[in-house]
Symmetry: C2
Subunit: 129 residues, 2 copies
């Protein structure tokens, strides 16, 4: 899902895509339970069908229930979402976005994670990027 396609989404469509992305997959009931100001079950299903028609979602059957997953890969979705934020809010500067993340007050980063990030920075240096 590239940024242009996400911009096509209406309010509810986008809320639903966010729910499914955050869980990786979801049934209609799970989507319903996670939506702000939730409508009825049949409203959710109608929107899921629309999102599938538009190509954003697909479904498989698990028993009697449809389970919906994003059509694009998780990695692709992640990169697209990040790029949109970098472009929109950080004038395209990846380093500023990283810096903002590193200084975010909400989340502690463990020693192990800091080491991993350290390695990535070292790699970036080695690759001349």
């Amino acid at each position: 899902m590239n940024p242009n396609r996400e911009q096509e989404l209406s309010r509810r469509e986008r809320q639903i895509m966010d729910v499914i992305h955050s869980r990786g997959q979801a049934t209609a009931a799970e989507v319903l339970a996670a939506l702000p100001e939730p409508p009825g079950y049949s409203a959710v299903r109608a929107l899921l069908r629309i999102l599938e028609t538009k190509g954003h979602l697909r479904h498989h059957r698990a028993g009697a229930v449809y389970v919906y997953t994003p059509s694009s890969s998780p990695e692709s979705a992640r990169q697209s979402a990040l790029q949109r934020v970098v472009t929109t809010f950080f004038q395209g500067s990846v380093s500023q976005a990283v810096a903002a993340l590193l200084t975010t007050p909400e989340k502690e980063i463990s020693e192990t994670e800091l080491n991993e990030l350290q390695n990535l920075i070292n790699q970036a240096r080695k690759e001349g990027r």
Copy 2:
């Protein structure tokens, strides 16, 4: 603008907020020029007025022209946007989001920027976070 408020935005509203955030401020004509599949000028103005009524934007007059700016601070908007992506696509893991940014293929990070990020990681270590 916290994530819940952004979720209230309709398709066009969100496109417009993105334009204004990426520029820092914009006139109606600038918004119009930057929109995908642009409507007419008066349609853009009507939406800007709606966004102002909802509290997302404010305007000041520059000569004869209205210039619209986000109601929330740039820093606040950045953090909100990042948090949404971290929560939705990275299960709340800041370090994974940072790692994804560091491995993004699109953008080169300069030596100076790498040093700055290095410093931020060092600070995170010193502060025990």
